[in-house]
Amino acid sequence: MKFLAIILLSLGLVLEASLTTIPFVFLILLCLMVILRENWLFAVAFVFGLLFDLLSFKTVGGTSAFLVLFLFLVLLYQSKFEITTRYFVLIASFVGSFLFLWLQGYTHWIIIQAVVSSLIAIGMFELLKRVAKNKFLISNS
C-alpha cells in the first residue's frame, strides 16, 4: 500500500505542479488517512508538501504545514465520528480544498474547484477502499 501511495502522490504532484489547480496531493492524502489511519502518512504529507512548494515556486514549508495540520484534524474527528464514510470525505475534501486553494492565493472559481475536488475525492476514496480491502484479504489469506 505504501508503494501505491507514493506512486499516486507522485503522479498527483506532477499534475498539480504543472497542469491543474485541483489539489490532488491533498485529496490522495486525505483518502489514504481516512482509510489507513497510519502515522507514516504525516511524514509523506510533510515530504510531498515540501516538494509541491519547490515545484510551484512557493515559500517552502507552507503546504507541508497545511497538509500535516489537516490530516491531524481528520484524525481528531475519528474519536467522535465514523470517518471512513463518503459523507465525511465529501465534506472534508470540500472544506480542505477550499482552504488550500484560498491559502495558495487563488480567488477565481474556488468554490467550483472545491466541488470538483470533493467529487474526485469520493471516486478516489471508493477506489482506494477497494484496493485496501483486497490487500487486507490477500495478507490475511
Binding site: S18, N39, F42, L55, T59, G61, S64, A65, L69, L71
Partner: protein
C-alpha cells in the same frame, strides 16, 4: 491508532514545517531553495511540455494549421497598421518646408521613463536611433515643424530625448508676430514658459513661439523657426524686470510614436 501516538507525529512534522517555512521567509534558505528550484524547473518544464502535447493530441492537423495561420494574420495586421502610421508620419514630415528633409532621421519612440498615462506627463523619451545612425548629443528632435526636445544621451543604438517640458530644458526663442525675444524654460508636469522677456517687448495671447536658432559650427543645436507652441497667457508686472508667458505646446508630447532627429541643418 493511539491518540498520543499520532499527536506526537503531528507535532514533530508540523513544527518542522513551520520551522522550514520561517527560515525560508527570512531568506536563510535562499541558496538551497534556488538550488532545488534549479533542479526541479527542467522537470517541471518537461512535464508541462509533455502534458501540453498530450492535451493537443486530439486536435486535428487542420485546426492546428488554422490556429497558426490566425496568429500569422494577426501579426500581419499589427505590422500593416504600424506601416500605415509610419507612412502618414513620413508624408507629413516630408511635406514640411523646414527643417529640410535630407537632414532628418525618422525614429520610433520606444520608451518614456517615468511616464504613467493619466498620472504624469513624459519628461524624456527613448528613441530607437543612436550614435550608429549619426545621432549626436545636442541634436534637435522635431515632429513636423514642431520642436519636441533635445538629444541628451546616446548609446550606439538608442538615444534619450529631454522634452521641452522638462524642468532642465532651456533655450532662446522669439515670438512670431511681435518678434519679442526670451528664454523658453520647461517647468515639468507638461508646462513650458517664455521667460526673461523685457517689459518693452510685446507679448500677445495666441502668438506663436519659435526657436531663435542656435546651431553651432559642429552642426549641433536647434535650427531657427521651429514651433515651440502658442502663448496661452501673459504675466506682466510693471515692478518686475521681465515679463513671462505660459506656452501651450502644439504637439501632444505624451502621444508621440514617431519623431525626427535633425542631424544636419
Amino acid at each position: 491508532m493511539q491518540k498520543r501516538n499520532f499527536v506526537s507525529y503531528f507535532l514533530v512534522f508540523f513544527v518542522l514545517s513551520l520551522l522550514i517555512f520561517g527560515i525560508t521567509k527570512t531568506g536563510f534558505l535562499n541558496p538551497l531553495d534556488s538550488f532545488f528550484k534549479n533542479i526541479f524547473s527542467p522537470v517541471q518544464a518537461l512535464t508541462y511540455g509533455a502534458f501540453n502535447k498530450l492535451t493537443g493530441f486530439g486536435q486535428s492537423a487542420e485546426i492546428k494549421s488554422l490556429k497558426a495561420e490566425n496568429l500569422s494574420l494577426a501579426k500581419q495586421l499589427v505590422d500593416q497598421n504600424k506601416l500605415v502610421g509610419d507612412n502618414k508620419a513620413l508624408r507629413d514630415q516630408f511635406q514640411t518646408v523646414s527643417p529640410k528633409s535630407p537632414g532628418l532621421i525618422p525614429a520610433d519612440v520606444v520608451g518614456a521613463p517615468g511616464f504613467v498615462p493619466g498620472l504624469s506627463t513624459p519628461e524624456t523619451l527613448i528613441l530607437n536611433r543612436g550614435a550608429s545612425d549619426g545621432v549626436k548629443v545636442g541634436d534637435a528632435v522635431v515632429y513636423q515643424n514642431n520642436l519636441v526636445g533635445e538629444i541628451t544621451q546616446i548609446s550606439s543604438n538608442l538615444s534619450s530625448v529631454t522634452l521641452l517640458t522638462n524642468s532642465s530644458f532651456l533655450f532662446t526663442a522669439k515670438t512670431l508676430q511681435t518678434q519679442a525675444m526670451g528664454v523658453v524654460k520647461g517647468q515639468g508636469g507638461g508646462e513650458v514658459i517664455l521667460d526673461n522677456v523685457v517689459l518693452s517687448d510685446s507679448l500677445k495671447k495666441d502668438d506663436l513661439v519659435l526657436t531663435k536658432g542656435d546651431v553651432n559650427a559642429q552642426n549641433v543645436g536647434f535650427p531657427p523657426d521651429l514651433t515651440v507652441g502658442k502663448i496661452a497667457s501673459v504675466s506682466k508686472n510693471p515692478s518686475d524686470l521681465f515679463q513671462k508667458a505660459e506656452i501651450q505646446p502644439l504637439v501632444d508630447l505624451s502621444n508621440l510614436e514617431k519623431v525626427f532627429v535633425v542631424i544636419n541643418y
